[in-house]
Symmetry: C2
Subunit: 300 residues, 2 copies
Amino acid sequence: MAFLPSWRPGPTRDAVASFLDEALALPPEQRVAVLDNDGTLWCERPGYIQYEFLVRTLHQAVEHDPGLAGRAEYRALLDGDHAALGELGLQRVALALLELCAGWTPDEFTGRARDFVYSEKHPERGVPYPKLVYQPMQELLEALRAHGFAVFIVTGGGTEFVRAVSRDLYGVAPDDVVGTLVEYHFEERGEGPALVRTAQALGEVNEGRAKVEHIQTQLGRRPIFAAGNSAGDREMLEYAHAAGSPSLALLIDHDDGEREYAYASAGVTTTDTEPIVDIGRREGWTVVSMRDDWATVFPP
Amino acid sequence: MAFLPSWRPGPTRDAVASFLDEALALPPEQRVAVLDNDGTLWCERPGYIQYEFLVRTLHQAVEHDPGLAGRAEYRALLDGDHAALGELGLQRVALALLELCAGWTPDEFTGRARDFVYSEKHPERGVPYPKLVYQPMQELLEALRAHGFAVFIVTGGGTEFVRAVSRDLYGVAPDDVVGTLVEYHFEERGEGPALVRTAQALGEVNEGRAKVEHIQTQLGRRPIFAAGNSAGDREMLEYAHAAGSPSLALLIDHDDGEREYAYASAGVTTTDTEPIVDIGRREGWTVVSMRDDWATVFPP
C-alpha cells in the first residue's frame, strides 16, 4: 500500500515521513506517540460526541425521574442552550454527567457507550459516528505502529468513554488511553466482588499541563510524537517537540468548512487567547491543513 | 524449553498449566494478568528493596543537610528502628520519601533508582538485587506472554521505582506498571518544558481494594489471572478469581526459611487478622508453596 495515501504530497507529508524514518534509528522503547482524540482523530463538531452521549443518557434518566430536568446543568443540556452551558462551564457539566452514571459497573458503562457510538448518527451529517474518524489519521496510526511506535490516546474526554471504542476505532487497547478519570468503588456483593462508578472525578480534567503530568503518572514514558488540535493540547505538543531529535509536534488546523468544519481552536481550561495555529507556526510545529494536506477526510 | 522448568511437577504446576491452556480459547483481549511485585516477583525481606533505596537517598540528603536527621521519620529510618517505623506507619514514612525526591525530573529519579538496584547488594544475602527475582515467576511471566497475555504489575510500592527496572527485570513496559503515584508539576524552564516530582501522593496507596479500583482507572481491563502474596493483594485476587472461567488466583506462600524467608503475610493497610494463606485455601485460590512447589527459587 502507498504511504499515507489520503495525505496529499507536499511538505507536511514529507515532514511526517522524515520523522518516521529518523525514528527507526532510536531504540524501540523511545518510540512513543501520543494523540488527542476529539478534533484530532475524529470530528468534534457541532458538539463533542461524548456530549451527545450525555444528552441521550440524560433523556433516558429524565424519563424515569422527571424531577432531574429542573437542575440547571440538565436543563441547559436538554434545551441545547449553549450560552447557559458556557456559563455553567465544562467542568460542572461534566460532573453532572458523572452523577448520571454513578453506580454503573465498567461493563454497563462500556456497553452503553458502544451502543451509542454504533447506533446513533451524527446530528448534521447523518452518518454513524465511526464514519467520522479521520481517514488520514487512521493511516498515520498504522504508519506509527509499522515504525515500531507505542501509540497512546491522551484525551480531555472521559477515559472510559474513549476506551469503550478505542480498540475498534483506532487499534488502541483500553490501558493505552489516558483521559479524565472517574473514581470507582470496590464492593463485596452477594454474587461476588464488584466495581461501581462513583460520582467523583479522580484528579484534574486532562487538559493543558495536566495532559503532560498524566502522561508521566499513567504511562511513565516521554513522547517524541504528539498530535493535537486545540489549546488544551499545547503543553503536550511542546513537551513532545522538546524531546530532542527526532521529534514531531503535529497540529491539525480545522480550515476545511466544505468537507468538515472551519473553526479556530477554542481553549477549554486554558486562558490563552492566541490561536493555537499561530503558536504552532511560531514554535516550529508541523501544522496540518485539513483543506490542503488531506486528499480525503472521512472513510469512504 | 521445558514448561516452567523451575516448578516441581504436581498439582500447583498442573493448575497453572490447565489455566494457560484454557485461556487460549478466549479472545486475546480478555487474557489479562496482574502480578504484585514485592514478595511475589522478587524478595521483600528483611525490608522492601524500595525502603533500602529510601535509606540510601536519606543518607545522601543528610550529608548535605544534617538537620534532616532530627525529623522523626528520618531518625527512625537512619537508626533502622523498626518499632518506631511501625508506630509512624507506612504512609507517613512513604510521604517522607516523597519529600526527599521532590524537584527531581523523571529521568533523575529513574537514574537513581536504577543505580541503586544495579549497584547495591542485598544486606543479608550479599547479591545484587536483580538476583533476588524469583526464577519460577520469571518463567511464569514468559509462559503468560507465550499464551497471549497482556502482563501488568500492580504494586503497593511507588510506580516510578518499579517502572525504573520493570522492563529489564520482567519485560514489562513502564506504562504497564500500576502502583502508588506521586504528583508531577509541569514547568516552563529556560531550556524548555520540564516535569518535576512534587511531595504530594496522587490518590490512595495502591493496596487492598485500591488495587482493584486502580486496575480499572489505569488499565480499564478485567484480569482473569492475579498473583500476590500478602493481605494487600486479597481484593485483587478475589476480583480475578471471580472473573469467570477460566480464571486463576495464585498466592505465594513464603514457607521456605532455608532458601528464602519463612513468614506469614503481614497486612499493610488491611485490618484482616486471618492469615492470607488460610483465606486463599478457603476461597479456592492456588497456593504456591515456595518450599515444595519450586525446585529453584533464585536465578543461578
